[in-house]
């Protein structure tokens, strides 16, 4: 199946989880929720943009800088375009970014 990679920055975790829920979730007879889609989703959360600095006593010299966005990376299976409601939050990088799927280039497969 053809794959495409997407990187997204949502306003919050709640918004990201809502978008993921919209991709399809069902509940089986045992009460377990399971996705009805075949996409691979990685919740990266508020990624670290700049590492902090610490002295030898672990005292913080400079605080790490975290993104105020909630980051999600996705391997889309069999989709040519962003699903409804996702495109607004997609980012188009000119590098592989802060996260990658092992052995799969974002730049060569980005949506």
């Amino acid at each position: 199946m053809e794959i495409k990679l997407g990187k997204y920055e949502f306003k919050s975790e709640e918004q990201a989880l809502e978008k993921i829920q919209d991709l399809g979730v069902d509940t089986d007879f045992e009460g377990n929720e399971y996705p009805t889609h075949k996409h691979a989703i990685v919740l990266l959360g508020h990624i670290i943009l700049e590492q902090g600095e610490y002295d030898e006593n672990l005292e913080e010299i400079k605080a790490p800088v975290l993104s105020d966005k909630y980051h999600v990376d996705v391997v889309w299976n069999g989709l040519e375009n962003h699903p409804y409601g996702w495109k607004t939050y997609s980012v188009d990088l000119e590098s592989e970014g802060m996260h990658q799927f092992a052995g799969v280039s974002y730049l060569e497969n980005k949506m």
């Binding site: 377990n32 508020h46 590492q51 610490y54 092992a102």
Partner: protein, 373 residues
């Protein structure tokens, strides 16, 4: 294709030490000849000795190629599994060394204490950067389970969203710790030699995921679509496997015979109860038999066989009949063997030494012999 015509085996005939003198030589040699990658033959011969040649489908951790996991039987490939991961990965090879698996859909035979088994893992992300030789760094955590692992003699001291220390025990030993972090920044201060380090949002450690300048995700192992209605009998039979769980993480993980849905299935595996192996037969979307047994540890290998026949179901584990059910119908239209419940969900994550499918209900004596450790 592999270079030798016959594989070398230490099993069967200590004088000859060749597989062609062994009872199942035809099977393993056929497998050898058609396989791109072939290994672990000694273990396979032992497994086949226990399983015999009666099953219609036999899987052992032996032969594979990119996108395919080869079954020993049938030798025409109709019992082979489709294999998909979609990302590169690593495994521990026969020499005990971590080795890159550079083809994205190559199955992995993973070794522990010189014992090879098929490794099926969930998706996981290593959040550490430059993991081969770890240096002090911050990691963004969520309010959920995280597991840190590494090889070496150094230590990692955690502060921020979790406090504690993980100390290494040797260059060839992997140490792990699992904890629930809060949301925020986890500072990991490294002292000494910390190699092949990993922090992942799971309650257990998975195979090593190397990283350089970014966090990296290994995708889910998917192994499915073996068999056909010619190889699987809907009216009676036995599903057998020697399996262990990656962890007692209270999730549903099963392998099954099915019609491609969860409506008609013969399945067993692990569930949301600690250290329990369960089995279920479903026909027409309703449960016909539900059997279970508490084992001492699902992360140890257990030999499990589920016999199904109208009004005659039994679960054998490690040589003993653990539970029976004498009322129920059989499924309709069984035609596929999968490492899931039939409809891609409840994927089996764990280690697999063997799987066998019998088209007839074996006797209690045969099931006892089959599952005896």
């Amino acid at each position: 294709m592999a270079q030798e015509i016959y594989h070398i085996s230490n099993w069967g005939n200590p004088t000859e030490q060749w597989g062609n003198v062994y009872l199942n030589a035809d099977l393993t040699n056929e497998l050898y000849k058609r396989a791109n990658e072939y290994e672990n033959s000694w273990v396979t011969d032992q497994l086949l000795n226990g399983i015999g040649i009666k099953p219609s489908i036999i899987l052992t951790p032996t032969a594979y190629e990119n996108g395919v996991l080869n079954s020993v039987k049938p030798s025409d490939g109709s019992g082979d599994f489709n294999f998909n991961r979609g990302s590169i990965s690593t495994r521990v090879n026969e020499q005990g060394i971590i080795e890159d698996v550079t083809e994205t859909n190559l199955p992995r035979i993973n070794y522990k204490n010189n014992d090879g088994s098929l490794l099926l893992e969930p998706q996981s992300t290593n959040l550490f950067l430059n993991s081969e030789i770890l240096s002090t760094q911050d990691v963004s955590t969520l309010n959920e389970s995280h597991t840190v692992s590494f090889y070496g003699t150094g230590s990692i001291t955690f502060s921020g969203t979790h406090t504690g220390t993980l100390t290494g025990t040797g260059i060839n030993n992997r140490v792990t710790v699992t904890f629930t972090a809060s949301s925020g920044t986890l500072t990991c201060t490294v002292s000494g030699s910390v190699k092949n380090a990993q922090i992942e949002k799971l309650s257990f450690a998975t195979s090593y995921i190397p990283t350089i300048g970014s966090a990296t995700t290994r995708l889910t192992d998917l192994c499915s679509n073996s068999g056909s209605s010619d190889l699987i009998n809907s009216t009676e039979g036995v599903l057998y496997a020697e399996i262990s769980a990656l962890a007692d993480d209270l999730t549903f993980r099963v392998l099954s015979l099915s019609d491609g849905t969860n409506n008609n299935t013969v399945k067993f595996g692990f569930r949301s109860d600690s250290n329990k192996i369960y089995a279920e037969v479903r026909s027409g979307a309703s449960s016909q038999a539900f059997l279970s047994y508490d084992v001492s540890d699902i992360t140890d290998f257990n030999k499990v066989a589920l016999k199904y026949k109208v009004n005659d179901f039994s679960l054998f584990i490690n040589g003993i009949e653990r539970q029976t059910d004498v009322s129920g119908n059989v499924p309709i239209g069984l035609n596929t063997l999968n490492f899931n419940r039939g409809d891609i969900n409840n994927k089996f994550y764990g280690n697999v030494k063997s799987v066998a499918v019998y088209k007839e209900a074996l006797t209690d004596a045969e099931l006892q012999k089959l599952t005896t450790i």
